[in-house]
Symmetry: C3
């Protein structure tokens, strides 16, 4: 028995040596996924006090609790940013300055929590106004997966703008796992944003979305898939959506030079690959559904 | 360092005061999301004894364990319902009667567990009969996300019918997060229901679904998105689906006056906005796929 | 109060007796879902050392830690396989030999971890080369849900090939819940596989996928839904996809005799039900989007 385990372990260790690149031993410390998830949960508590605590928060205790949580998050966030900078050194930071840079970025990010709250308030407002099934704003913050997804995207975007590697993407992929919405940290998203239902929505890295845009489940803002691959990194590959546009379920808009003009409506299942002017209505042309009676067939026709 | 944290905390506290509505301090107690998730997990254990326990349940112990769990769930459920009634007082209950009403609703809901089990047994049966990949009924209950999604929907519907705010939606959004299926607590869903694969399925609040209906991933029963918003609350906005209808992947049916007649089949990707009679077959008209050879092009044609 | 609980408990216990089949008491031990999830997480740690530990792994400790984890996983995996064999006895194993068979399968599966790592390295490579948003291979392993989904599928496939009931499907449905990708343990999937974004992807049990295939979110390889149901079990019901094929978002390929030839490209939303030769380009015929100006209407036109 012990022999078998030793033999299995030896085989696996040889594989660790042979197939490097998907294991990480003795190298620079990687940021910890579980630490980043824990930090993200605490950031959500700071954004929405009283919603994600199990006990009610009294105003008298709020200052102390908030300061305590902020101090904790700042230290842990600094550590994860530091490990990410070490792992994937940015060009604009001197190697000896990683710790200082990490501390600065963590502090600056927390300093942006109030303005992030201002924008998230507009998102909650858009969700409430856009969904007759919502009974109250509290229901939206407590129950809607969209609020979690957009909050994490807006937080991660703060780190993305400071060119922090790894951490922002780990944050949004955690939210993706919980909400089914794949909102890249790089996307610029205006206020009063709302995705209803949300499962399957994709917003690519270089998307640029104006204010009061509304989407439904399965809407995708994606890049053209040429043979470019990694060569396309950093280029504008995803669409620009102007203000007050509505995109219905499973509509796809593709390409970095595709611009959807203000106040346009994109119908369900539309696949749009070119720019359209403001106030456009885009639907699939000549798609009708054909209704026939099954009773005309002898047996059920498989689709 | 301490100064920085104090400054960050002050900024955030000012934001809590300024941007009210997305924080909840000193107000009426909100129901606790984590408590509701814990209650929901215990309700699943009561529905499927022996499946979600880590240890095997002996028949001799089952009475004691069941009574113990029921007593615990009833108390915790009453608390969360009470907080929800306080938060969002219903018209039909006098303010002083919230505690009594909460106790009554919690007891009544638990009294409906046996009939809920009867319906869920038909759903498991429909899943088994409809999916050749299912090896056994046990596999369906242990592994299929659909069983979790429909169980939580049927449980939350019991609370929805009693006009409990917040709690039912928090329950179904928890299941949505875990299964990708967004089944609103308000929907009326007949027995022998099954959604295969399920990710991205949406069933709106006022949907009415007959018995033996089968759906696939991405199917959506949704409301027309007029400019109504909150003004439409409470109106019938989502479709009626009669018995033995099958809806293939990503089919969408829209509108509160849209009725899909019995035994109809709706093809994949169909977008249906009007009623159809019984025994209809609905497919997209004249959609053919065009197959051409890439070898006729000099370079790969991007799509 | 105690009377009410007793009455509720009695009602529920009567329901356990009456509606058997969805409860599991006094019968053969079922495998434990939570134990299988815990085993699966440990298998991911063994596949990607240093990525999913919270602390950094030193090379000196790696042998000891690996051997320790392997021994633990082997014992727990054997137990769950044993319970599954007992529950759903395979034809080819004598009833007295379940324990020995379970031990053998668990050991053999762990012996395949090195070759599984070799294939997963190619998947990570495909993800990196195919996605300009990926900053590094480490980001892919740490953040991309696809790596988790395909790792669990490839692990579960090892058990599926040995005809272990229940355990493999519980593994992939856990990954489905976390990633939105429903990849059946039975599917044969070649190396250099990648699903971008991934939410809503479905790969059916008898799918056969060649190397270097790339998919996007919502792509489904499914069976024809005839009236067969359980009678179709074990038959080839899902498509065959040859090497270097790309399938864009929400494309569906249906049927066990449908073969997509090598190097073909299937456009978004295509619904393909017949075979196509190598080097094909498949798009929806004559689907154009119609762009009109909303300003020509007096009021917004609902879609």
């Amino acid at each position: 028995m012990a022999d078998t385990v030793t033999s299995l372990a030896n085989g696996l260790l040889q594989s660790y040596v042979k197939d490097g690149g998907i294991n990480h031993v003795d190298g620079v410390n990687l940021p910890s996924k579980s630490a980043i998830v824990s930090i993200t949960k605490d950031l959500l508590k700071l954004l929405f006090p009283g919603y994600f605590y199990d006990q009610q928060v009294q105003r008298a205790e709020l200052m102390i609790e908030t300061a305590h949580l902020l101090a904790s998050v700042r230290g842990r966030l600094e550590d994860e940013i530091y490990k990410s900078l070490e792992h994937f050194p940015p060009e604009n930071v001197a190697p000896g300055a990683f710790r200082q840079e990490a501390a600065q970025i963590a502090t600056d990010m927390l300093g942006h929590l109030p303005t992030t709250r201002e924008i998230l308030r507009t998102d909650a407002e858009a969700a409430y106004n856009g969904d007759p099934a919502a009974l109250s704003r509290e229901e939206i913050i407590l129950a809607y997966p969209f609020i979690e997804a957009i909050s994490v995207q807006r937080l991660s975007h703060l780190l993305y703008r400071r060119r922090v590697p790894l951490v922002p993407r780990i944050m949004t992929e955690w939210a993706h796992s919980r909400t089914g919405m794949d909102l890249h940290p790089g996307a610029k998203i205006g206020p009063y944003f709302f995705i209803d239902h949300g499962t399957g929505a994709v917003i690519g890295e270089t998307s640029d979305i104006g204010e009061r845009v509304k989407m439904y489940q399965g809407v995708a803002l994606i890049g053209r898939s040429l043979s470019g691959g990694q060569a396309l990194r950093g280029k504008k590959r995803h669409p620009t959506i102007h203000e007050r546009v509505t995109l219905y379920a499973n509509a796809t808009v593709m390409g970095g030079d595709t611009v959807v003009g203000a106040r346009s409506t994109i119908g369900a299942n539309v696949f749009l690959t070119h720019s359209i002017p403001a106030d456009s209505l885009v639907v699939i042309d000549d798609v009708k559904v054909k209704v026939s009676s099954k009773l005309d067939y002898k047996s059920e026709t498989p689709i």
